[in-house]
Amino acid sequence: PICSNGSVNCQLSLRELFDRVVKLSHLVHFLSSEIFNEFNEHYGQGRHFIARAVNSCHTSTLTTPEDKEQAQQIHHEDLLNLVLGMLRSWNDPLIHLASEVQRIKEAPDTILRKAVEIEEKNKRLLEGMEKIVGRINSGEVGNEIYSQWEGLPSLQLADEDSRLSAFYNLLHCFHRDSHKIDNYLKLLKCRLIHGSNC
């Protein structure tokens, strides 16, 4: 049983925290794939949204590792802070995604439900990451890494095609970033918990 004798240092272990954070980041990316693919199937056919979405994510200002070597060379505290910064940068857009998507004409219920679920689970993941960073960086949770999102007006444009393209772009970017986050966390878990011997 948990802390049966009321031991003073009664807290979740780093291993437990990482197990849960990785399970959640895996799930968040799984959901982002589902909503992205479903949105694309429903609204993307023949509209070539991808061409307009290329290289236009609000988080592209954050320098992120693009291959294994880069990811392994980064100090774990910096990579943790980077993941935390990415999650924070997505908190605001996901809140608006969950509310604005309700206004899309005939949006399937599955897309509406997933948008809400993603926002909830991403917030929960952010909470977990703040706990881990606080634990590892000895209480200090830096919040200098952040990328402001200015995309709300584009989600409310009158022209439907432009508005749908803005939604596509947001989902495309979150799909990519949530995969990066999941990948970096799996790397960090293996490094910090399993001595890079997963």
Partner: protein, 210 residues
């Protein structure tokens, strides 16, 4: 004053919310009021139960907003009446460890025959509706048990995450009882067993002599 209450159980059915129940101590017949208080690991702040009603008497229900997976809850219940008050021993809760799913549903049993006319029994079931297994937030494992109707001893078979199972070696002419239950893949506890399902194995269900 009232004797101290005891927190008897905390349970999360789907790893999204959870509920705790307590048992009042003897209160000397005085009208007694119960307050559930909790704090989170590493925090001084004390909170009160967000919802005393949803889960019935002597209970506290924590909805999604009040359920965190990143902390250990330190929970106590205070009994208060005119004569004074008394506090339960602290009860520590890590939500991941108290997940006890509802039983599986849609249990079906079907007698089939292989290509070379070898009969076998196919059991299928579905995860409990509340549990979000599809997205992977909750991964369930299953165990089934069966025994002849008049038999004493259950035979238990762990089937992992599958929701189907083929039974080959069953006795012709016997009537079997089958039940299934489930558990989260890491921590947490087994659900209740499903209600009993019966299947009568026909007498010509002879295993072909090989």
């Amino acid at each position: 004053p009232p004797e101290k209450p005891t927190i008897i159980k905390c349970r999360s059915p789907e790893k999204e919310t959870f509920t705790c129940w307590w048992k009042p101590g003897p209160d000397g017949g005085q009208p007694t009021n119960y307050t559930l208080l909790y704090s989170k690991e590493g925090e001084e702040q004390v909170y009160e139960c967000p919802d005393y009603r949803t889960a019935g008497p002597n209970s506290c229900y924590f909805d999604k907003k009040h359920t965190s997976f990143w902390t250990i809850y330190n929970i106590t219940v205070k009994a208060t009446n005119e004569m004074g008050s008394n506090i339960s021993d602290p009860h520590y809760v890590d939500v991941t460890y108290i997940v006890q799913p509802d039983p599986p549903v849609n249990v079906t049993l079907e007698l089939k025959k292989t290509i070379n006319r070898k009969p076998y029994l196919v059991l299928t079931w579905s995860p409990p509706p509340l549990a979000d297994v599809r997205s992977g937030w909750l991964t369930l494992e299953y165990e089934l048990r069966l025994k002849p109707e008049e038999g004493e001893e259950w035979e238990t078979i762990f089937v992992g995450q599958q929701t189907q199972y083929k039974m080959f070696s069953l006795n012709p002419g016997k009537k079997y009882i089958v039940q299934i239950h489930c558990k989260p893949d890491h921590h947490g506890s087994w659900s209740e067993w499903t209600s009993e399902k019966y299947v009568q194995i026909p007498t010509d269900f002879r295993v072909k002599d090989m």
